[in-house]
Symmetry: C3
Subunit: 377 residues, 3 copies
């Protein structure tokens, strides 16, 4: 299975751009930590993801496996960011990139920049909270905000491969999940614009506005027949994890099931089993275990084994969720392939699946499921 998977092209249905500049060690380390404050005497290489970088990325930059962190950073700078990014993203593993452009987009390459660098086709996933925040910069009232959001979303949805919400980050999944009235939305908009003006708010964290954005996004996904991505679970300090279990979002999922567009649950850890349950019982739910394969490095096969327990094979997807570092693109693909090969080889060895079954399963998860639900424009 390992050689079959090594030659299997991937569709990375959720990733971000990378930094185009050379990085020193502190800036490099900061890009693979979800925390902010360094701990005295410790380094980000002293964790599972650090081991994976030294094992897999060092050889890709012509160093021996498990090179020392300082040697790695030195080699990275000697090659230059452009060459490093080209090698690590454009190594042939990934056939298409679906790129979330809604997070710190000024600091990283955009989809066109990624394609220019690597030759890999890239399409855009539009983050709806970022659109609402963009409209808020010039909206004079809640009514303005609502109408401006509608217009911008309609325009951006046209060229996109899908839409994305980070509702779990901003207000958790444990909220009223109905579509608010225009009156409620405009009143919430007035309050939020005032809070932005007086500095008491900084970003979109109002559940009424986010619910409005979600329901409009759902309508566009239905019309364009493409997915709505939802951030689930693992993230940074802003996550309030007890309420990021996606089964809290059952009412919304159920309400739009008949609309027949895919809801793709991203990352999911530590709620992998909950995501798999939703994928089994709701026809519209898909999921991946992106980002967490990278962060668990040597334990990535454990994560993949859990993702493969229950869910239909036609409901799983590949993503790297790489942000900032080309290493995270590279590792995402390498660790996914290793981990899935590990699980499927075990099934074949145990007589639990045929080789043909295993190859079909791998192909579905690596690319075919994504191609089916994110159709080319």
């Amino acid at each position: 299975m390992r050689s079959f998977l090594e030659n299997l092209p991937l569709v990375d249905h959720h990733c971000h751009g990378v930094v185009a500049l050379d990085l020193d060690r502190p800036r490099f380390e900061a890009l693979f930590s979800e925390g902010h404050r360094p701990v005295a005497g410790c380094t980000q290489f002293d964790k599972p993801l650090g081991l994976a970088i030294r094992r897999l990325c060092a050889p890709a930059l012509d160093l021996p496996a498990f090179a020392d962190p300082d040697a790695y950073i030195a080699r990275r700078r000697a090659l230059g960011a452009e060459e490093v990014n080209r090698r690590l993203i454009g190594d042939g593993a990934v056939a298409e990139l679906l790129v979330d452009t809604g997070h710190r987009s000024d600091a990283i390459l955009d989809p066109a920049g990624l394609t220019a660098l690597t030759g890999i086709p890239a399409r855009e996933i539009v983050r709806i909270e970022a659109l609402m925040e963009q409209v808020a910069k010039t909206a004079g009232s809640g009514a303005d905000l609502r109408r401006g959001f509608d217009a911008l979303l309609a325009e951006r949805a046209k060229g996109a491969a899908g839409l994305k919400s980070i509702v779990a980050y901003r207000v958790t999944f444990d909220i009223d999940q109905t579509d608010p009235t225009h009156g409620e939305v405009e009143a919430a908009g007035d309050r939020w614009l005032a809070a932005l003006a007086d500095g008491s708010a900084r970003r979109l964290e109002d559940p009424v506005l986010i619910r409005y954005a979600l329901w409009r996004a759902a309508e566009h996904c239905r019309a364009h027949r493409y997915p709505l991505q939802l951030h689930v679970g693992y993230g940074d300090q802003d996550i309030f994890m007890p309420k990021c279990d996606p089964t809290h979002f059952t009412p919304f999922i159920k309400a739009v099931e008949a609309w027949d567009f895919a809801i793709t649950l991203l990352h999911c850890w530590p709620f992998i089993r909950e995501a798999a349950f939703l994928a089994e019982v709701f026809s519209n739910v898909y999921f991946d275990v992106g980002v967490i394969l990278n962060y668990t490095g040597p334990s990535a096969p454990r994560i993949m084994a859990e993702a493969m327990e229950l869910a239909p094979f036609y409901k799983q997807l590949y993503s790297s969720d790489a942000f900032g570092l080309a290493e995270l693109h590279y590792l995402g693909a390498r660790l996914f392939r290793e981990a899935l090969a590990d699980v499927l080889s075990g099934w074949i060895a145990g007589g639990l699946a045929t080789v043909a079954d295993a190859e079909r399963i791998a192909t579905l998860i690596a690319s075919e499921n994504a191609r089916r639900i994110y159709p080319a424009a």
Copy 2:
């Protein structure tokens, strides 16, 4: 261990009847999915349970392992439902069936029908919510409903092997867990009967009425010294999973611990560790991992390994939770035996238990624990 377990009779303490009719492919597939709407281009065979059916059930119907789904369905129809059901349930693995008769009982064989077909003794587990719904059909008032429920429960409890509640399905475990007053119950009954009459309610979803039923059930379990079964976790779209963690039900469990009847937690996934914790700290808690071994197929040993982590060996039980398809009875037994053999063989190989220990543990879980807590009438 595998051959020891292959010859070890099982008590299936929680299962349902099977459909006695021949099934075409769509109807067959619908019976092994917890969801309702098919996904275009995909089939229920493309999931772990589908692999398990092809691997294990195909040979039981004289086909090669991993036969193609269409060939499987054709062979099933050629043999006829009666022969298939007899072969798959009556293969000698199961020594006794405890049958929940409260779900879609008109569509499937009853306990007597299962015994007639297979020769396996079968006893009834009575579902309390179904009794309340039955009484509601003719009750004229909340007071009528309460008294009618009391009378019907007393009668049905006499011949039963145990009682069962699906409180988690209907109102979750995150409810007030005290015994309501008669006044509260009768008022709730009046409201529910009115809602049934005007069509705004369809089934029992009132927490006051369900709490009343639970406490009366507990009294009968105490008197008859047999278990109260509780559905936990995995199920269909009606489950609101965040509140189906059985540790939410700690107040009820603690309140009846001194009554000294067993509370048997069914399925439990994804709350297996929570169930095992309750089994360790409360003398009255038992559990199984029924249904989920079937749905995880190749990964069933992972589930069993988790169930074996913490819990006392005298607190675990076997169940298939098979409903509708004889395949689910057959796989339940086969996968349980394979998975438990896998775990215990690993312990023996690692020097972590003796062969005698392992055989004793297997026998407790396979049948002895169930025989102890569900005594013959």
Copy 3:
């Protein structure tokens, strides 16, 4: 790795004293169950921890591995409690004990007693709820209670190696996490003292008083630059598990992150992944999987594998959480070493880490992390 780990000294950063008296079988069994009521016909040896005692402790008392429980108890009594305690705790595995003195301290050896018996240096961890309960015995008013607690905490904090809270046990983590005002605290103190006087309260379960104790403890940890330990997850019947997930305590953790003292999450099971997540995103969070390695016995490597998935290697600690029985000290150390060796050997065998990496990781977790955050006085 196994021989490297067998010679690696451990710092047990969370344990308790042991009973100095000889024990008969019922009293011995009661000390390794988190429940209270025995189940007819079953024994505590019929669980994973029972297997581990027979496998590992029997040889340490000159019996064959897997000796029969009665033979084990007889041998234990023949050797006498003092010799058993000395052998099992003082076998060279543990270099330092950090001892929680706040639970049933009259029944077990104190830190000095442990050192006298075993020669192992022992320092005290002070449990803040126990201090508040001690002050309540003589306080005449809420104001008295507050001031008395401040004074006693200041005194006891001076000689301690760290402080500990069992907030999760008493009021769960799902509480307001702000520092209450003096007025609120004193009013809560008045109410609690009255309830103690009329017998309606028995111990400290008031969230306002516990929040006050937590914030004062945080100030002392900041001043003394040592950890605040928090009980998480696994415990006895008093635990309300749904709200003991440590991610519920994110607001408190975030509020004190800049104070730069360690918060050490104890046990964590079944919230190991949640603890690892907090350790990744918050610079002040550390954790262990103490107690649960003992209670899972043969499955301890599964637990350790989960603990090693995500968390930085510089954020994990060793503890036994042994209470009452010297066996639990001995097994804690043995199972930790076996389980960590198991995980790291797998990484080396798979080419996922070098031997040097694995040895460094083992040393950090076994002792160096604890030495860094619990500096010698």
